[in-house]
Symmetry: C2
Subunit: 310 residues, 2 copies
């Protein structure tokens, strides 16, 4: 059973190192989120950006940033490179996007000298806490990688397993999703899902249970799964932890349906495949989502410190 976000936040409070480097911090939502994370005891933020603007925004919005180091750098590209270098050098455990275009931010992440490259595919992991579902669900990829290949999907699963492990799920159940639960050569995504399942059987994909293709009801609803013919032969019966989407359209549309239609839903998001976890939330994400994302980044940083990428 995975933790709730509250439990993850409690766990992060006990961690020794949770330094957070923020690129171009002059944004009210970002400052509110890092101040809240600092107050909760889950992050020690260092702010890179326009010091005067940062202080002005904090003052105007009554955000307490006292005690947070601010590195003044008015050029956004330079600020992001200095901020990412702090993580690259091991002086911070997490890297967070502020008020700069995603493209510019990602250039700093991928910078060859001071960035966080590992040679791995980068992928986005969205963690959902959904009322009525008794565990966290880990979604990939709903925001970053448009059309993952079969090999990308294998790497995505490895990243999801790291994040799930960090959140307390020892042997996550991974469901490569499709509209149907049977392999159909006319639907390539079902063939790929089956291959991922076989790679887990053969030991190529480790530390998790993979069963695909699965429709969403068989992946998350034990009652639906129990009533479906053939369910008894499956490795996952409504108890999946990780949902792997066919492509970004399917993933993003489901993600937004949940965010906009399910009352009481909570989520957090991080970018994986980097040396350290990256908090890449969007403007429309609430402060709560940003704080949850920082909490997940902190436990993932700790997990990577203990086990590395392999």
């Amino acid at each position: 059973m995975s933790a709730t976000f509250d439990e993850i936040i409690s766990k992060v409070k006990e961690l020794p190192a949770k330094k957070l480097s923020v690129a171009v911090a002059q944004d009210v939502n970002v400052l509110e989120a890092v101040a809240k994370a600092r107050d909760l005891g889950i992050a020690d933020p260092t702010l890179f950006g326009n010091e005067a603007k940062i202080k002005e925004i904090a003052k105007e919005n009554n955000i307490d940033i006292s005690g947070m180091p601010i590195i003044n750098e008015e050029d956004d590209v330079e600020a992001s490179l200095k901020a990412v270098k702090m993580v690259h050098d091991g002086d911070a455990q997490m890297y967070m996007k502020g008020e700069l275009p995603t493209k510019t931010f990602l250039k700093s992440v991928l910078n060859k000298e001071v960035g966080l490259r590992t040679g791995k595919t980068l992928s986005h992991v969205c963690i959902f806490q959904i009322p009525g579902i008794n565990r966290l669900l880990f979604f990939s990829d709903v925001a970053f990688l448009p059309y993952p290949t079969l090999e990308d999907k294998e790497q995505i699963i490895n990243m999801d397993v790291k994040v799930a492990n960090a959140c307390g799920v020892k042997m996550p159940k991974v469901a490569p999703l499709a509209a149907v639960e049977v392999v159909n050569p006319k639907m390539p995504v079902t063939v790929e899902a089956d291959q991922l399942s076989k790679w887990q059987d053969e030991g190529r994909i480790k530390n998790c249970i993979v069963d695909g293709p699965l429709s969403l009801d068989l992946a998350i609803d034990p009652e639906s799964a129990a009533h479906k013919a053939g369910a008894s032969d499956r490795k996952i019966v409504g108890d999946a932890d990780v949902l792997l989407f066919p492509d970004i359209h399917a993933g993003n549309l489901v993600y937004k349906a949940i965010v906009h239609m399910v009352p009481g839903v909570v989520n957090g998001n991080i970018l994986m495949g980097t040396k350290a976890p990256v908090v890449l939330t969007s403007r429309s994400d609430t402060v709560e989502v940003k704080v949850n994302s920082i909490a997940v980044a902190a436990v993932v940083a700790e997990e990577l410190k203990k086990t590395g990428w392999d």
Copy 2:
């Protein structure tokens, strides 16, 4: 503004003709649904199938089927052909699937002699009533057509418009969905969405407003749409009625996420592209979903009688 299902049901009560032909009716859920539809005054069912079994199931489950004509035919294929012929001949306005495989049922729908072919693409329309959204939403295709071509999508829009019109929406707003709201040549679905939008501008697609590509938040959430840069240039600003999905995986996964995660959600489904609307619900659909589907089929039958397919 579209009606609620309750309003659609009220409207159907006033319709003169609402004969429902049921293929292979010996199924407890199907009998419960048609009995409820009859009691509500929204359908006059004729049951084709194994008469002894139909009566036995009704008796065992206290379902009142008194007064419903039963045509005894123990062979499923024959029963479906007789049932579909009743609709083909104009003696019933709606055709419904009972206890037979979907493949066999569809063979009757597509039978050249007695079926309901129009030469059009067949497509599934799912109608959702979602708490917090002040109108019905029409989803295509979440269950039938795996990978619609651009031309298929044009036809799907025409079908959705018929269904929306029948449900009281005069000039539906149609959102061809994607993960993003900008055209990106590397994402073919966005190029197709843009083309559909242009076809509406040029008058090739009529009786609706098409604006794509749209992400789900811009399609259904006025607040998100208002905050997004460029929203003022769009034809749809969070007020879409019809959601057109890139493919069956995206559509089906969103559909199941809503059914399994949104409390209080209600839906109905019909198959379109045929001479008369077809109720093709699945075993897992509740009696309420089946009744809603019959109600939608009845208003669609009336709409097709008034306006035809073109």
